[in-house]
Symmetry: C2
Subunit: 125 residues, 2 copies
């Protein structure tokens, strides 16, 4: 049974950012974690493509705008406290700038477990 | 091909915290997002049970210590920038205090899409 109660008011907190996890909608693989502000979430919902807020560049960031490795949005979910987002996406190429499909391609023990999707030298200049 | 290069040095940043995403190791369902500090990560690795840092209570938090809804760790992954963690877990009961299996049981449009795992009144007093 599903019910709709209208848009969830996202709690962007003091810094205006919430973590946003991108997950492959087909395979369930967790691809990356970045941050979204109100503008990034609004652009994501309007365009159907994942947008984030780049903390290092302090700007709106459309994932894949440079690399072509865009994320088409299947669904945006929000957690119980409304302070974290889950983007269910159809990922073109790979999510990670290192060439892996997922940014979570290593265990904390240092073992590489992820799959390479592309050669970063072919994508980023 | 996998390679091991030794423990990854996690970047806990200025506030000493990194986001930690818990994912069901079997189904791939993203269960919750919380935060870990160095102590929580160390306890997680030592005990094989997911630990976090509670930001509201400002204390170490073993998931399920009160509710019994523990998360047995299958693997801990770290992202490319080493500033986010992914816990692959075997979740007992449900991850969400509201009774849902996942904290991400709603779309941002307000539609409930998650599955109930327990009645919170039976678990929390």
């Amino acid at each position: 049974m599903s019910s709709t109660t209208g848009d969830v008011k996202v709690d962007f907190g003091d810094d205006g950012l919430v973590p946003a996890v991108a997950q492959d909608a087909d395979t369930g693989e967790v691809l990356m974690l970045a941050y979204a502000d109100e503008e990034a979430l609004a652009r994501t919902r309007e365009t159907g493509r994942a947008h984030y807020r780049s903390r290092s560049r302090d700007e709106l960031w459309e994932k894949g705008a440079t690399s072509g490795h865009v994320q088409e949005i299947e669904e945006v979910r929000v957690d119980c406290d409304a302070d974290a987002l889950l983007y269910l996406v159809d990922q073109t190429g790979g999510a990670c700038h290192t060439g892996y499909r997922s940014c979570f391609h290593r265990t904390v023990d240092g073992e590489t477990v992820g799959e390479r999707a592309f050669d970063p030298e072919d994508v980023y200049e």
